[in-house]
Symmetry: C2
Subunit: 139 residues, 2 copies
């Protein structure tokens, strides 16, 4: 079985509230992480909530990065969804941890689109599919 996508879920705790409530800082941190990962930005969007919190998404050529922050709890929910073989998930995670100055970070990684087909039947992006199988954590 092969996976079409790789989905990294990051839970960032103990982040300074001032960083999580600053839409400019959130945007900068997200775009730095996209760049660190080697992904290509198509469209970024960020929104500040009242009384606090920021949501944002960066659509990339290889899927998306998203963020939702709860400054009052020092918590940020991050998702990195990718396809393709050029994305460095560890670099993205480390860049986000550093940018939000997280005291702790939990990581979960999922394979998305597990096709019940033999590999020779999957002709789209063969290299990326090979690497995405099992959602490698070593790249």
């Amino acid at each position: 079985m092969k996976a079409l996508g790789c989905h990294l879920i990051l839970e960032l705790y103990d982040c300074p509230a001032r960083l999580l409530d600053d839409p400019d800082h959130v945007a900068e941190t997200m775009l730095e992480a996209v760049e660190a990962s080697g992904a290509t930005v198509i469209q970024p969007f960020f929104h500040q909530f009242a009384p606090q919190g920021v949501s944002g998404v960066v659509i990339i050529s290889e899927s998306h990065f998203s963020v939702h922050t709860w400054p009052e709890y020092g918590y940020a929910a991050l998702d990195v969804f990718t396809c393709g073989d050029v994305i460095d998930m560890d670099a993205a995670a480390e860049s986000l941890r550093r940018g939000f100055e997280a005291g702790s970070m939990q990581k979960m990684m999922f394979s998305r689109g597990m096709l019940d087909l033999p590999p020779e039947m999957i002709h789209h992006k063969p290299e990326s599919l090979e690497k995405a199988a099992g959602c490698r954590t070593d790249n």
Copy 2:
């Protein structure tokens, strides 16, 4: 422990390629699902890839809906990330399944932002936090 967010992951298989490769249909289906769930749209964004495939995100007041499609495999990866107590996750999932005419759908639900605090310490959106605990699937 209480959760700040609820994250529904949907894997849609055996969808007609013509629906997954039509950005207008993808956008319409996503916005119908947002409406069915009771969420409030802040900003939708959709992008068509060459030679095929659509990515899209709808930022909502309660977090986001995202979609990535692989028409060549009849597969769509959907995520519904919410906070708050007004979102009907089942209605969202059924609306998406119907809109993409999926032959099969896998659902996974996660609690995001599990705070290691007693309930009385969590004073933000108390009703939504109560309902989000365990990421209920019956609403």
